[in-house]
Symmetry: C2
Subunit: 193 residues, 2 copies
Amino acid sequence: MPHIQLPEGLPGISGGLAFRPEMAKPMRELAHVLLYNPNTLSSADRELIATYVSSQNDCYFCQTSHGAAAASHLGGDEALVTAVTRDFLHAGISDKLKALLVIAGKVQQGGKNVTTADVEGARKLGATDVEIHDTVLIAAAFCMFNRYVDGLATWQPRDAEMYADMGKHLAQHGYMISSAEMSAEILRRSAEK
Amino acid sequence: MPHIQLPEGLPGISGGLAFRPEMAKPMRELAHVLLYNPNTLSSADRELIATYVSSQNDCYFCQTSHGAAAASHLGGDEALVTAVTRDFLHAGISDKLKALLVIAGKVQQGGKNVTTADVEGARKLGATDVEIHDTVLIAAAFCMFNRYVDGLATWQPRDAEMYADMGKHLAQHGYMISSAEMSAEILRRSAEK
């Protein structure tokens, strides 16, 4: 049960965002810019970074929903998403993304853990300054989102189909949509089946 | 030296924000809503929560700038800010704020650490659901801001007067102002002395 009286029926972060719309606006916009807007890093890569950090923070809702968004961007390759969260150094992803995930993992532990060698390593594999910046900020932002979702003890249903639908929706439309709109969309998809 | 080529002469988070304006916008707006907009928790209390979390994350720039903003809201009481970061349970603040700082400290460690007893404790001392929500989100957001500032190895000058000026400026105007505007304002204040 959530620690405070959140609107019912809205899973994970949606409950908190619906409770405080004035704070939801910049948080949605930040997620949208970080994960969905055009970027030299694909949305799949950025969602994998978000999923990996969320798994390191042990946030069920975030790792499952962003894992589903990553899988949707990857044409349904859920196995690759699982491989990244379990042991990304041996997953079927580019060496550049592996180097960025090293940086993201350091940020998750604490910003000071990122070393010059980590950054040089990513740069040698083709990462630009903007991509390194965005990796640091995605990792940092998910240290916020994960703590927000778990710090309120939000409702996090175990319903694989719901997360798969949410992932498709996020991959297609991004993060600027309100909780109510997303719930309506998920219900519509369910009804279509 | 920063890990990537950030605009020079902008301390701490300002360098990162100037490097990526599209991401700066929602981050500034989030800080403004969390710390500056009207709230039943005073800006002093919210800046103290931000300062405490930043000190627990050992982020020099954030704890010093937000500590200065808190002191400015408190009529210049820097000793109280220091007391909160060192041992808030024995600082001269309300029992309600102490209970909220307990929650913030748990969130800093990880969202799942917040217990029903922590929340009940704050509620018994008069904290509302909105205040508990906002405390969780301020603590979570500073786990992002701190990691962003240190993960990029931003320039964090040791210049007490600069932070005092910045604190006054943030306390007065909030967080929606751009780095360039803030730099101009700080230079103007320096010139006036």
